[in-house]
């Protein structure tokens, strides 16, 4: 394992960097794909031979767009307002995101306060005459009503197609507004990868909120935290980093604007999900000379080892980290051995975001479960190495790349017949309706990360096996929504060549 090299230092002076271009989507920047079907080894081989190309589905089901994930990225930052420049529907799930917001605040011992969100309510006439005046009104209202530190302006399909120049609106109104107004380019149709939305959000934050030069703090570690990582995980990370005498600066979720600004002074950036933090870590590194390490999620024993080593080594803490790993592994071993006795040999199908689709299989392999299938929501170089490691560890298994698409999952599960399904919110209910025991692969109440995460998640699996009554009953009262021949057909029947890369 090589020591991470210090990144290239940009020519620009830190603090004056502002990349005004709209960032290329992940399919162009990282060669990411959302459609593949076959086996894990095929996927690894094709990636290695650089012949992995995007395909399309001739049947598809609705999914998430990059704008939604862009909002998820920034909606919980304290003292900010979300503006969506689009029709009212493009902001309509904010009360849902607000559930996570309030829950997260409760878990952080705060009195929950709801987020702030404003729609420019673009109507038919605005698609003809333009909606820039409405955007001005929205920004002014956000300022007058809430006096926030920052205002995020998210674009939409409509604002993109009709050609609204939000950057110009923001530039002209900023002198009259105390809050920093930040454009977030995330038109839903412009990327097939919802993960491009993370980048659009971080691009805005990096260009408008984070400034240098700054004083370096040798013990401060940026830990990029997606909203799907719960507070119990953060507490565990704080504990582990504390053993190395390091402090975690969790950004962006539930962070203050100051904490986000402080990220420029950190000694190192890591993340709890490489897929999520890829761009932020990279650019923080380039602009402020901060080592960026995020190869894997710290989920499962080996990946937690790797995650900790990646943090410790650049900071000269090799000895400390080896001692920590040894101690922690020894501490949880009896509990894991006990769990293995209950769980070994159970067949599991895992569906998750790209990084978790590596993390969870590694975790359940630690507990002796057998992987009979993995679905990743997209696939690219960010997790290629760690996915290849997974195949070396767990052998070959059916693999699909799908941005949800429960019809494929239904077929795969019917054919693979796992003992348990581990999935993401929105998709897991379909496995439950098929009668499979299920456990959520992300759950804000439970610990996933670190050594204790293996134990906690193991106990959760034991519970799911102990009483699968709910899903069994649900299944008995659910009807097949697909025609019967689908359940035995080729699961990848509807995958076809793409018309173009995007």
């Amino acid at each position: 394992m090589s020591t991470p090299k210090l990144p290239k230092i940009p020519k620009q002076e830190p603090g004056k960097v502002r990349d005004k271009t709209v960032l290329a989507p992940r399919e162009d920047r990282l060669g990411s794909i959302i459609v593949a079907g076959g086996t894990a080894k095929n996927l690894v081989d094709q990636t290695r031979r650089k012949c992995l190309k995007n395909q399309d589905r001739s049947f598809s089901q609705t999914t998430f767009c990059q704008q939604w994930l862009a909002i998820f990225t920034l909606a919980t930052i304290k003292d900010t307002v979300v503006i969506v420049h689009g029709p009212v529907g493009c902001i309509s799930s904010l009360p849902y995101i607000n559930v996570f917001n309030r829950l997260g605040q409760i878990h952080r011992n705060g009195k929950p306060v709801s987020g702030r969100w404003i729609s420019t309510n673009l109507l038919e006439a605005d698609t003809i005459y333009g909606g820039e005046e409405k955007l001005r009104t929205a920004i002014q209202s956000a300022e007058e009503r809430y006096h926030p530190g920052a205002i995020f302006v998210f674009t939409s399909c409509v604002s993109g197609i009709v050609g609204e120049d939000i950057d110009a609106v923001i530039e002209s109104i900023q002198p009259k507004i105390k809050a920093t107004v930040i454009p977030i380019h995330c038109d839903g149709f412009r990327s097939k990868l919802w993960a491009s939305g993370y980048d659009g959000s971080f691009h805005g934050v990096l260009n408008y909120l984070i400034k240098g030069p700054v004083e370096k703090k040798a013990d401060l570690i940026n830990v990029i935290n997606p909203l799907t990582i719960g507070r119990p995980d953060e507490v565990e990370i704080e504990r582990l980093l504390g053993k190395l005498n390091l402090r975690a600066n969790f950004i962006p979720c539930f962070a203050s604007i100051d904490a986000i600004k402080e990220s420029a002074s950190a000694a190192l950036t890591t993340g709890l999900c490489p897929t999520y933090g890829e761009y932020l870590a990279k650019i923080l590194g380039e602009r402020y000379r901060i080592v960026a390490t995020q190869k894997v999620m710290p989920i499962g024993l080996a990946n937690t080892d790797l995650w900790l080593r990646e943090v410790a080594r650049p900071l000269g803490k090799e000895k400390e980290v080896e001692k920590l790993i040894k101690e922690e592994r020894a501490r949880v071993k009896p509990q894991i051995d006990a769990l293995k006795k209950k769980l070994a040999g159970k067949k599991v199908f895992v569906s998750a975001g790209q990084s978790r689709a590596v993390g969870i299989p590694n975790l359940v392999a630690d507990l002796g479960l057998e992987i009979v299938g993995v679905t990743a929501f997209h696939y690219d170089e960010v997790t290629h190495d760690s996915f290849a490691d997974l195949t070396r560890r767990c052998g070959n298994f059916p693999t699909s790349v799908a941005n949800l698409q429960p019809f494929e999952q239904t077929n795969l599960l019917h054919q693979q017949k796992p003992d348990i399904f581990i999935g993401h919110s929105g998709e897991t209910v379909w496995a439950a309706k098929q009668g499979f025991p299920t456990v959520m692969g992300l759950n804000l109440f439970h610990l996933f990360v670190g050594y204790d995460g293996v134990v906690t998640f193991g106990n959760r699996l034991v519970d799911a096996f102990a009483n699968p009554a709910f899903n069994r009953n649900l299944s008995a009262h659910s009807k097949n929504v697909y025609h019967n021949d689908w359940y035995t057909a080729d699961p990848f029947k509807y995958i076809r060549e793409a018309a173009c890369h995007r």
Partner: protein, 425 residues
Amino acid sequence: MPPVILDTPRHSCALGGALSTVSAITGFVPILHAGPGCGGQVFYGQNFTSGYRGSGPLGGVSIPSTNTYEQEVVFGGEGRLREQIRTTLELVKGDTYVVLTGCTVGLIGDDVRAVVQEFKSGKTRVVYAETPGFKGGSNEGYEIVLNALIDQLATKKPKIKSRVNILGIVPSQDVFWQGNLSEIERILTSLGLEVNTFFNGIPLEEAGAAALNIVLSPWVGISVAENLKKRFGTPYLVFPLPVGATDTTAFVKKIGTTLKIKTADIIKEEERRLYQYIDRISDFLVDFDVQLHFATVSDAGDAVALNRFLVADLGWLPSVAVVTDQVPEKYRAAIHKSLNLGEGITPKILYESDSWKIWEAVEKEKPAFILGSSLDKDTAERIGAWRLSISFPVTDRVVLDRGYAGYRGATTLIEDMLSAIVAPF
């Protein structure tokens, strides 16, 4: 004038309303011809935030959708739609497939009608509605899609004397839609009527067979009733959702006189049953002196329903009724009339969809009880008011078959409101 901006809106878009409506009709399969995130966004933003209404048989992230990306935006999406309809028919069970268009398709100008027409000869039915989000809110989406479905599916049928259609209850936008509809259906069935709610399994194509259309909102659904009147000559009556003894009895009498049905026995029995329970809570109401000044923050339908019930039946005093949906001007006089509650009692009526202005207005009135949405939590806390979530969105309650309509809904509403008061004890 439609609102310029919407701070913390209380509805989704036209597509959201249309999708939750189509998803509520048995056997109907929606096919979105829309952006990749529209289905996900409005599932979480219209259904899930409506008391955690889940996917159902084919909702949530399993809704068939063309997921229009840059390729379709630039080169047109008709080919992709044709492919998606073909594969959906092949893969997904259903008897009627409804293409719903989103904003991107509305802007690029696909000829959806022509593509749908190509599937006419097949044995399954494929219809469509143009529901780009920029056409308006959820209530507008409900009207657009029901009108489109009736235009394309309903045919002239012999009138059934005992058949009525119910309009004006928008699934998910009315968080209690299912409970409300089943109570209305229960009452009308007890009068010997057969009720088509469009969501209870009676075929939508029989819309023209009804003897009467009943619109349970001061405005939502009237355009559909007008459409049915024009096409099938069906008369309609507008009676905003009745809650409690006074209004429900008036409703039953009105149906009785319109359709020449005897109602006296039914009314007597229902009122007896309701007051048996109201009697049970009367000690608490009297001992704790629970006569409160209240505010409602809701769509026009619930504003009328709740103010009338709380004033006429419970004897409470209205402070402000905030009407949060965008009621066309021509329907407002009727709303004012419904909210003139006699003996000089009438709430201040504020038509406002922007939540910040709503919170400001409610704070100024300082009601003791707020019937609003979970969005009003922080405001209620600031002014020390009791609160119950009864209007969209509702994220602090789980709603299954609960409803507040009619005689039985009144007991449920009293339970829930007074439970909010006793909760800390």
